[in-house]
């Protein structure tokens, strides 16, 4: 409970304080709140409350940690971007805190209604955040995200209602059968596929990721994905992967890793490329759901992915002047800032799954789960697409390393942002060499009581 309170009060105080205090104070307040939640999380005891509506189990703790980490990173590396683009600054941090609260709610329940509430709490601030830059691209992103997000929520809600009809319960794990239950499962999964950006419900992702302010994209790609997969894992395990759920998920994974990677090949804009890559990664994470013990794999993959993609977007946020990041902006990054280029290298190689970086272990755990679940065909296909993925990461990397820069001059990175970048880069390497260091925290039992 305590973490939810911390996050809730942080958001509330930040929203109020922003009216009187300077932006700087709100910023520090939010960062302090997020940091407190992050440090506090490992010590939170496993508990449940409100008759099972609230459930702080190991899985919730692990995924909330990933989400809070993502929010903290988004807050720390965002300031420079906000100033360059003249975005409303205190709103950014306050909305971020609220969204993180929603994320924690969504992750800490195995009850469909509470998950829906968390989903909305997470999404509403995000719609505003996506549109925060007040230019056509940003507004388009916000509107698109809102419309499709609303449809997704409605679909999920429909599934929830049918689930109740079929089983007489909102709690996951309730046993049901028959066509009504099958439709309910399909709708519940489809609603969450939207948020997790699994094809064929991922068409919004590239546009929204590209149009939204880069630090917001960072949070969407990492924190939101963690929350979506927290719910998806619980739903998938709750309804069982034996029947239509498994078939539906398998089809989605197949399409996701195929289209995500294929479309990424053709991109000429870094954020859009990473958006497609994030779609593809959703497919790899979902592979873990077929295994007998998906929680550690999903959690660790999300951590690895949040660190790697977070690092990549954090670097792009330093480069981005508000008009997105076409390849030309990244060109010759190594001459303008060797440090940022080095971090981009770590991030992209980690996303490509090269050891000894943390991304490798995420893939490792997820693929092992898929193999233990007997999904050999899907696994072989995913492995092949992972090689394709290396090619587009290299394309982006080649821009940064082998070409002459278009823009002259170095890049200004704020001290705190540099610190955050450095820490994340360190974690990408350190957790790659010693993945056991935090694995215990993610090695939790089941995801449904």
């Amino acid at each position: 409970m305590s973490v939810l309170w911390i996050l809730f009060l942080t958001g509330l105080l930040a929203a109020l304080a922003g009216l009187w205090w300077p932006e700087r104070a709100v910023r520090n307040l939010v960062r302090a709140g997020l940091l407190l939640a992050l440090v506090w999380l490992p010590f939170v005891p496993e508990q449940s409350g409100f008759g099972g509506l609230f459930l702080m189990d190991g899985f919730a703790r692990a995924l909330t940690l990933v989400g809070v980490l993502a929010a903290l990173l988004a807050s720390l590396v965002g300031s420079g971007y906000l100033e360059r683009t003249g975005m409303g600054a205190f709103e950014y941090h306050a909305l971020l805190a609220f969204s993180t609260f929603g994320l924690a709610v969504m992750a800490s329940s195995a009850n469909l209604v509470v998950i829906l509430v968390g989903l909305e709490l997470l999404s509403l601030p995000l719609y505003a955040l996506a549109a925060l830059r007040y230019d056509p691209a940003s507004e388009e992103a916000g509107l698109k995200y809102f419309l499709l997000g609303a449809v997704a929520a409605a679909v999920f809600f429909y599934g929830l209602v049918l689930h109740f009809g079929a089983t007489g319960s909102f709690a996951l794990g309730a046993v049901g059968k028959g066509p009504l239950f099958a439709v309910a499962v399909a709708l519940l999964l489809a609603g969450l596929f939207f948020k997790a950006a699994l094809t064929p419900f991922s068409w919004w992702a590239p546009d929204v990721y590209q149009g939204a302010p880069t630090p917001v994209t960072l949070f969407m790609a990492t924190g939101v994905k963690a929350a979506a997969f927290a719910a998806l894992a619980r739903v998938a395990v709750g309804v069982g992967m034996g029947g239509i759920g498994g078939a539906f998920l398998a089809l989605a994974v197949l399409l996701t890793v195929f289209f995500g990677n294929l479309a990424a090949l053709a991109q000429g804009e870094a954020k859009r490329l990473l958006a497609y890559s994030s779609v593809a990664h959703a497919g790899y994470i979902a592979l873990a759901l077929f295994g007998p013990d998906p929680a550690p794999a999903v959690g660790y993959y999300l951590l690895a992915y949040a660190l790697s993609t977070g690092l990549a977007f954090a670097v792009l946020a330093q480069v981005d002047g508000g008009r997105g990041v076409p390849f030309g902006e990244v060109r010759g990054l190594v001459r303008r800032s060797p440090m940022l280029a080095g971090m981009l290298l770590l991030a992209l190689f980690s996303l490509a799954g090269l050891p000894p970086l943390v991304g490798f272990w995420g893939k490792y755990l997820a693929f092992v789960q898929a193999a233990r679940g007997g999904q050999y065909g899907l696994l072989a296909f995913a492995l092949l697409t992972a090689v394709v993925a290396a090619y587009y990461y290299l394309r982006l990397l080649a821009q940064a390393f082998f070409l002459e820069p278009e823009a002259k001059g170095g890049l200004e990175v704020r001290p705190l942002a540099a610190l955050a970048l450095g820490l994340v880069a360190f974690l990408v390497v350190a957790l790659g060499v010693f993945p056991g260091a935090v694995y215990g925290f993610f090695n939790v039992g089941g995801v449904v009581p």
């Binding site: 090269l354 050891p355 193999a371 492995l383 992972a386 090689v387 290396a390 056991g436 090695n443």
Partner: protein
């Protein structure tokens, strides 16, 4: 000690990366010093090898929950490559003495550490880790400092390798999980997994696992039809990169085939040995034939490697003691001689500003030292008795002839020798012989220092095989005893 050989280069690369001054004067001296000292350390280990099985083993817990540990050790198969890695790093640094980027030298050191790790790792996951780390510095060495089509070649190299790697990773996981039942727990430890080999041999999945490993190693080796990355990468890489590629990266393939395909799946190797022998013979013939047709001197040498590695594959497919001896000897000899060829051709191209064979003539007349060494290297490449290359080829073929598995294929391979002899002699005639056309400066002392150890070894290992064969025997005999226990 082995860990020192692996991690000191990484630390040295870090020192170079963090060094304040931006010129390479310090970087190259430091890199030379580190790799020189490590060469001596590796040689020390080489001569302290007890003569049988694995030695110098070190174990540390690493990922106990996954059953993976830090386990390194060397046997007579790995030791020559570890020495060669350190030595060729020093040679490459000397060969790149004119380079002005310190990052280049840092990457060479990273390569050295990772390659040593590949040859020393006795844990499959650790092996995979180093196997993959090798790719990254090599990619950058080719892409940044290579010739005109370097980026294309670098990407092709990396994608080919990754393609093989994912299948190897799948095979590693499959092996460990399938063996976990008989071993009483998940482990990636190579000696432990070897104990499960009799059980693995009974599984229907063994063939899949075998090919998962083999695909990665056949790409690295490379064998026809997976060799098409090689001419690009070797031709476009800078001299030091070509030395590393030919001298060491290809050896990862042959080493892996012996260590893992033979060491874990001997029954499958026996089952598919005819197929591998056919691939080997095609590589030998086709590699030699394509070598004949090259106009680019570097590409010519690159293609001759396909031919040379064919003998390695043939020796491995024979599964006989002599054939395996030949395979290892051939790899070591090829590392020295082809490394020397690439070194000389690189230095030659720096002077003539072209790699076109048609544009060079009378090189021996204008540069007697460079020409003479290149002459020696080309003769070594065609397998002249008295030089290191002869023994490996001879033993591979003899082993393949003695073994019932591959006898029928040896006859075809012999034509490969003829064609390659023709190609090499024709190259000598076109490039080295003839009247002097233009004056070029001959090798300077630093370039000579780079070539000297390789020339010395090429002759020494041609005349005194006793400096290498007992070591190889110490690795091969326990392996064959183990194989006989399973078959």
């Amino acid at each position: 000690m082995v860990s020192l050989l692996i991690f000191v280069p990484f630390l040295a690369a870090l020192v170079i990366a963090l060094w304040q001054e931006d010129d390479a004067a310090f970087a190259k001296r430091f890199a030379l010093g580190v790799s020189g000292v490590l060469t001596l350390v590796a040689l020390g280990l080489y001569f302290r090898y007890p003569g049988q099985g694995f030695a110098f083993e070190e174990r540390l817990p690493w990922l106990p929950s996954l059953g993976a540990g830090y386990h390194v050790g060397l046997d007579g198969i790995a030791l020559p490559f570890v020495v060669l890695t350190a030595l060729l790093t020093a040679v490459s640094v000397l060969a790149s003495w004119r380079k002005t980027d310190r990052a280049f030298f840092a990457l060479l050191l990273v390569l050295e550490g990772a390659l040593t790790g590949v040859f020393a790792a006795l844990d499959l996951l650790l092996f995979f880790l180093f196997f993959e780390i090798v790719l990254v510095p090599m990619y950058f060495v080719i892409a940044v400092w290579g010739y005109e089509n370097a980026r294309y070649a670098a990407v092709k190299f990396l994608l080919y390798s990754l393609f093989g790697s994912v299948f190897m990773l799948a095979a590693i996981l499959g092996t460990a999980y399938l063996a976990s039942g008989t071993l009483g727990g998940l482990t990636f430890d190579f000696p432990k997994l070897q104990k499960a080999a009799p059980y693995l041999a009974t599984l229907p999945a063994a063939a899949w696992l075998f090919w998962g490993f083999a695909l990665a190693f056949l790409i690295k080796l490379p064998s026809f039809p997976l060799h098409t990355w090689l001419p690009h990468a070797h031709t476009q890489a800078p001299t030091a990169g070509s030395i590393f590629l030919a001298g060491l990266l290809l050896k990862m393939g042959g080493y892996g085939l012996i260590r893992f395909n033979l060491g874990l799946f001997p029954a499958e190797l026996k089952r598919f040995s005819a197929f591998l022998a056919v691939l080997a013979v095609i590589s030998i013939l086709y590699g030699a034939y394509v070598t004949l047709a090259q106009r680019d001197l570097k590409r010519l040498i690159a293609n001759s490697s396909v031919n040379h590695m064919g003998y390695v594959l043939l020796g491995i497919a024979s599964m006989s003691a002599i054939g395996l001896h030949g395979a290892v000897y051939q790899m070591v000899a090829h590392g020295i001689i082809t490394g020397l060829m690439f070194l000389m051709v690189g230095l030659l191209a720096d002077r003539t500003h072209t790699r076109e064979i048609g544009a060079m003539r009378g090189i021996y007349a204008s540069m007697p030292v460079l020409g003479g060494i290149l002459w020696l290297a080309l003769l070594g490449g065609l397998g002249l008795p008295g030089l290191a290359g002869f023994l490996g080829e001879y033993q591979s073929l003899w082993g393949a002839f003695e073994s019932g598995l591959t006898r029928g294929y040896v006859w075809f391979a012999i034509f490969g020798i003829l064609i390659l002899v023709g190609a090499m002699l024709w190259t000598i005639q076109r490039v080295l012989l003839g009247a002097k056309e233009k004056d070029y400066p001959d090798l300077d002392p630093i370039e000579l220092a780079a070539a000297a150890p390789l020339v010395f070894l090429a002759v020494l290992l041609g005349l005194v095989p006793a400096l290498l064969t007992p070591w190889i025997d110490g690795g091969i005999q326990p392996l064959l005893a183990f194989v006989r226990g399973i078959l």
